[in-house]
Amino acid sequence: MKNDLDRDLSLSLEESAPQASHLDAAHLHAHDTRIHRQDRTYSARENWAHALSLGVYRALSVLVAVGVILVLLWGVMDLPAFGRETNPVENEVSERYLAQGLQEGGATNLVANMILDYRAFDTLGESNVLFTAATAVLLLLRGLQSREANHPLASAAPEAPADPILRAGARALCPVILLYGLYIILNGHLGPGGGFSGGAVMGAALILYREAYGPEKMGRFFSFRTYRAISFFALAFYALSKAYSFFTGANHLPSIISNGTPGAILSAGLILPLNIAVGFVVCCTMYGFFALFEKGEI
């Protein structure tokens, strides 16, 4: 076994492969066959046919790109003009959102009215898209290291203590960013902003804190259990409250949620609590993405 090990490695030296000393056998075999295979078939340098096909391939892709663009442009040519008032888009649907949005939805941000009150079913689907993505990434990346403990990944990122500048910066910035994210969520129905953007800003604050103080300190108050609990309660609250408003709406029952005085924080009926729920889901998901990508464990 010793001599063919050298032969394999000599073959792939110009691939800047490492000078392997003695690895454990299982890892060695998998490791070698991969290097061996990689360099055998795809080195474009010597293989001129491969280089030629690369050139043809590149020219073909430019042609396809130009073709698709031209066809679509040719079709788009006679669409309604940009920024004109008489476009078919300005019809009775958008007119009602603008005119009666404040009375019916209660939010001064008419886009928030439309998202969380008129077309609430889309946004319910929307936060479930985010939940699907979080579950998919969880399935894919969780335990990426724990299974192959001796896999290179485990030894790849030694826990270097974060440098003091980052720690000092984080101590000053984290609370401010968290506050700003909370502000965006709470004022989602009064001005631009809302659950999605506010949640992402809060997620960024959590990411900064984790990066500065390390996952152990972060794990004390935000572990996988809290992640699961928060996203469960937020999504369950969102689905139940929207189910209530759909049910009362469809069966023409009066809904007990009042719109409150426009402009006040506690106005716009369900829009504020829904923004808070969406904010928490987005915050947990964004932090979860970061944690899963970095360490394979929340």
């Binding site: 295979r37 003009a81 894919l140």
Partner: protein, 133 residues
């Protein structure tokens, strides 16, 4: 005449060109990371097209004041803004799933080239077959 229309509708024309570039990057580029960036460009091109439909020159953002005194005619169309908000979050979720798939694939096959991955997966599959026999 065509060029003049294109110049007038230049936001929509730019969106369509970006969509074409993004689509072909997604389809024809071999590197996984480039594919994901191409997909993200394709999506933001469609949202740029959608948002430019709702724009009315001279109108302001649809934020009513507390007393409701601003006239309804002074706002732009809120529907595209709402739809694009949904779309941006869809685009981020899909990017996150694709990136995690890329990391898993790289950890398993040590390459970012999709052709190589499919080739290695087929070979790995035959090895499993022989292992079973």
């Amino acid at each position: 005449m065509n060029l003049q229309i294109l110049l007038e509708n230049r936001v929509e024309a730019a969106a369509i060109i970006l969509f074409g570039i993004g689509l072909t990057t997604l389809l024809l580029n071999r590197n996984l990371i480039k594919k994901i960036i191409g997909f993200s460009f394709m999506d933001s091109a469609i949202f740029l097209f959608l948002a430019s439909e709702g724009y009315i020159s001279g109108h302001t953002a649809p934020i009513q004041d507390a007393a409701g005194s601003l006239p309804a005619a002074s706002f732009i169309n809120p529907i595209p803004a709402g739809l694009v908000l949904t779309g941006i979050v869809v685009s981020v979720s899909v990017t996150a799933v694709m990136l995690s798939l890329t990391v898993r694939l790289y950890q398993r096959f040590h390459t970012l080239n999709l052709d190589e991955i499919v080739q290695l997966a087929r070979e790995a599959n035959e090895e499993e077959e022989e292992a079973n026999d």
